[in-house]
Symmetry: C2
Subunit: 141 residues, 2 copies
Amino acid sequence: MPGRRGAGAGGGRRACGSGIRRFLEPCLLLLLHGGESHGYELLDNLGKFGFSETPADSSTIYRILRSLEEREFVSSRWAEGDSGPAIRVYTLSPEGDGYLQMWVRDLEETDRILHRFFSEYQDHMKQHHSGDAGPEEIRKE
Amino acid sequence: MPGRRGAGAGGGRRACGSGIRRFLEPCLLLLLHGGESHGYELLDNLGKFGFSETPADSSTIYRILRSLEEREFVSSRWAEGDSGPAIRVYTLSPEGDGYLQMWVRDLEETDRILHRFFSEYQDHMKQHHSGDAGPEEIRKE
DNA sequence: ATCATCTAGGTGCAGTATGCACATAGATGG
DNA sequence: CCATCTATGTGCATACTGCACCTAGATGAT
């Protein structure tokens, strides 16, 4: 399997298939919180989070890791690979740990908003038994 | 308050302040499912979903509405404003209703992924009582 | 030795998303 | 006439992401 190419949802709003924008960054941070790792390995371990069928492009992973390093949330060093070329091993920094905490708080907020959406949706559907019919003509006041 | 300018997080990953990419589109669809409306009014009603402090830029709203119209998920017509300039009134189409259903299913999936993240996070923190200390040196195997 | 393949990291480009600044324009009141 | 509010919109810069493609070491088969 040379490089996980193929698959993928197509970028953005028109697809709706990628839902809300992917939150790969905090997932990578969390994985690195569990210990040093490198891009290719992280890519495999992302499966844990269950990105449905769409395991993210490797280029995205490598770019996020570089971006994290620029901001000093991780550091990297080159190491020998067990078999194959050298690997760039990333280590979470204390700042990166704090950044992960921020992300978690942020995602909890996102979760609240998401549930507010579901709640609004269900309230609305209760009143209109909808699902296939068009919207009714309802004035706001 | 001329036009809701100011405020707002910087765009994207580096901020973490906007969390996961905003899902304004389904919110607008849901609001339109409740009846016809126009951009400026929708902007106000977005508060319902509790986008923390960041009520979204008006330009984004107008652009999403146009994009929805291009894809025929909504239609629009010009109407007299109660007071002030003319308004462009948007109406959800049956296709738009179906699209909203797709979004809901997609967001439910996102919700599952989000909770898998929280679950991973909590499991991890249980073992490391962390929060302020850097990551420990743990090998994967 | 040469070649295919796997592992690993990376660049270039295009499409999409989004905030901010700013433009346009009708309505209203001083 | 001008300031202000309502309402819609454009231009620009930045950012995220997928896809195609590139580089390069290691390994095994021919």
